[in-house]
Amino acid sequence: MKRDEPASRILSGVDLHKVGPYGDTLGDGLVQVSFSLPVPSGPESREAARRLAVQMGLEEPQIYKEADLGYGFSFWIIYGKCRHNVDVTRIVVPKLEAVQLSFDEINDLVAAEAGRRLRIVGACTGTDAHTVGIDAILNMKGFAGEYGLERYPAFEVFNLGSQVSNDILLQKVRDLKADAVLVSQVVTQKDVHLGNLAELVDMIEAESLRKDVLLVCGGPRISHEVALELGFDAGFGAGTTPRLVADWIAREWVRRKVLPA
């Protein structure tokens, strides 16, 4: 909960110390879950599904769909009352400040402080072939009505595309003397993206380039918090617009120039 969240946005009667799911009555805790089990449907697996729901913290689980998928699988849709709740007032989440600068202001800031274009290298790394995220942020055309970074006079953008290995990316960062590196990870399997991102940080540190570049990652499964844990400087999740990234890069670059770590 943002500390400056206006009171008008908080539902009256809600206990911020005990927040749980809402179905149609405050405090009912209602949620739905759906999953498959590697057992055929039937009375025993039905009870197994119910018990699983209880172990997930769902009281009075109701099974609304039970389907046998064949070849030893069953599918379940269950509703239940989540008995857990959280104290929202005690939560502190590291996050990026909201966008402050406009397109022109970002360009002006970089022109004034850097006196040159900032070089940005972007890539979809590892095995990921989904460039939709990095393209939305970098391409001229942009995303959600905002221009991509290529359109900013403040930036010189090198979009390396998809399935770029960390080796190649590192080499480009060195060769192009990048000011910022944007790594996108969209669709991955078994959390391979986390290892991949961490490896890049290690490699850049090993090359003693860490102080020279802003390391940014993005993707639907990335948050600022995850990014910091991995050793990045910033992380952008789903719904990020190009200007949010542009603003952060410009201001952070300037901040570091003024206040070296």
Partner: protein, 534 residues
């Protein structure tokens, strides 16, 4: 008319046949150019495919495919331009070994790989033909087996519902594929491990680890085909298997697909050039060989122009997809493929919040249907505007399902509500199949009952896209396909003649270049044409 497009659709868009004919003319000229270019060249992957037709299987002690080791020797001797078949046939003739044993002996240095003396030339040619004809016999058997399956079991109503499995583990894939078949899937594709298209060899053996997909190997093809044959018997309906004849090993993948009775293969050089940065000379040369193999083996090919809309705007760039379909059609026909083997790609990728998006998508899909009436068309679901909101995604996919059935698409890739999140979970596919079946049943004859307002939004949009496609095709004809790719006419991506991966594996054919597979392909294609005629 083919079984994939059995319902005759009455034209509804009032498209000008003259413009369509001019599009085909331009595409024909573009294709003839490519054909001429490819006919004068061979590649390491074509030569490896030739060895596979001649019966070479397996890998060396380090699991490097024998076909790679043998062709690499030929390259090292600077003889790629002559092809490998005669030298290899001579080695078999002199040693009396089986093709795979002979290849192993060559690799181990126990047998020489040198072209026959002039007086032994004819004998080597005979052996080469004999070996290739054994490959052809296997392909004939596969074609017959498929026909018998389909005669006996049928394959269900259209559009054929196509799902993807991609666990990375072929054994896990087989279980998921069977669950899909039970839920109504008619084509199961095994997505390849990411970046396999950039490997210049086909891995050996059954594999249980991969990223974002499962390696395409000959052993994996066999394992999945066996599983789907079992599933076909279980569900009383032939379930087709799909994989990828694309990337640097395109000719080999097509060959393995032909030998192991795959039914459908993605095959599109333009996709590889644009989205995988594979060199255009390499992959357009490889594609001609691959398409001839697909023609010979009765495979359906799926083309990939739908992907242009993942980088370009679907509304603005719709004509680039149509233009590419024309080009792919002409190249395919030149290679001996029949219209019913062409799953030309297109997709529903417009922003779902654009007003009348549904009408424009209907116009696009109906237009493709009317312009390519005898081809099944491969219709791709929304991906670009899928967000991870599974509830909204299910609705987007429902709209897609409706467009597909009302415009009579032949091959319908199922949209997944979890698109853009992860490889589908087992129930994601089942739910998608359930939705697609519900909608295609509920709206089965909608297309027959609907006419469009003359000069209304749907007709106008279709005509506009067709007119723009003609302009683009004429530009591409004038600058040539290679030039058009260099100037970024497709997918807003520019690729150069000498850039990208794999150019070093291309050779201009020497005057005495020969391989026995071209001949058996001609025979098989002629036999297939006779059957279609009957």
């Amino acid at each position: 008319m083919s079984f994939l497009t059995e319902r005759l659709m009455e034209p509804k868009l009032d498209l000008d046949p003259d413009i369509i004919a001019r599009c085909r003319d331009a595409a024909g000229a573009i294709s003839a150019d490519v054909q001429r270019f490819a006919a004068g060249r061979t590649s390491v992957s074509i030569e490896r495919a030739v060895l596979r037709w001649m019966g070479v299987e397996g890998g060396d002690a380090d699991c490097i495919p024998l076909v790679n080791r043998v062709v690499d020797l030929q390259v090292k001797s600077g003889l790629l331009s002559h092809g490998v078949s005669l030298a290899f046939a001579e080695a078999v003739r002199n040693s009396g070994l089986s093709p795979s044993d002979a290849a192993m002996a060559i690799v181990e240095g126990r047998l020489a790989l040198v072209g026959p003396d002039p007086d032994a030339m004819e004998a080597a040619r005979v052996v080469a033909r004999l070996l290739a004809s054994q490959g052809a016999e296997r392909v004939r058997r596969a074609v017959r087996t498929r026909s018998r399956f389909i005669e006996r079991l049928g394959e269900g109503s259209r559009p054929l519902l196509y799902v993807i499995v991609a666990s990375g583990n072929i054994l896990e894939d087989t279980v998921q594929a069977k669950v899909c078949a039970q839920a109504g899937a008619q084509i199961v594709a095994v997505i390849r491990s990411t970046a396999q298209s950039l490997l210049d060899y086909v891995p050996e053996g059954a594999t249980t680890e991969g990223f974002g997909g499962t390696y395409a190997t000959q052993a994996n093809f066999r394992i999945m085909r066996t599983a789907l044959d079992e599933a076909s018997e279980d569900v009383g309906r032939y379930v087709r298997l799909c994989n990828y004849a694309s990337g640097l090993c395109m000719p080999e993948m097509a060959t393995l697909g032909a030998l192991e009775r795959l039914d459908v293969m993605l095959n599109d050089a333009l996709y590889g050039i644009l989205f995988r940065d594979i060199n255009m000379q390499r992959t357009l040369t490889d594609q001609v060989f691959s398409r001839r193999v697909s023609a010979a083996a009765g495979l359906i090919i799926n083309t990939g122009e739908d992907n242009y809309l993942t980088t370009s705007d679907a509304f603005e760039a719709a004509h680039t997809v149509l233009a590419s379909e024309f080009i792919n059609e002409q190249i395919a026909l030149c290679c001996g493929l029949k219209p019913h083997q062409l799953g030309l790609g297109h997709a529903m990728q417009m922003n779902p919040f654009r007003e009348d998006m549904f009408l424009y998508e209907v116009a696009q899909a109906q237009m493709a249907r009317e312009i390519f009436p005898d081809s099944p068309l491969k219709y791709m679901p929304p991906t670009k505007h899928m967000t991870g909101d599974i509830f909204r995604g299910q609705v987007q996919d429902a709209l897609f399902n409706l467009v597909s059935v009302m415009t009579g698409q032949g091959i319908h890739l199922l949209g997944m509500m979890t698109e853009a999140m992860h490889t589908p979970h087992i129930h994601d596919r089942v739910l998608a199949l359930e939705s697609a079946r519900m909608i295609s049943t509920a709206a089965r004859h909608l297309g027959d009952e609907v006419r469009f307002v003359p000069g209304g939004r749907v007709q106008t949009r279709a005509r506009d896209v067709l007119a723009r496609a003609l302009t683009l095709l004429q530009q591409v004809r004038d600058e040539g396909l290679f030039g058009a790719l260099a100037s970024g006419r497709f997918a807003d991506i520019k690729r150069s003649m000498d850039g990208g991966r794999g150019l070093e594996g291309v050779a201009v054919k020497a005057e005495d270049y020969w391989n026995p597979v071209d001949e058996v392909l001609d025979e098989l294609i002629a036999e297939g044409a006779k059957e279609v005629a009957q």
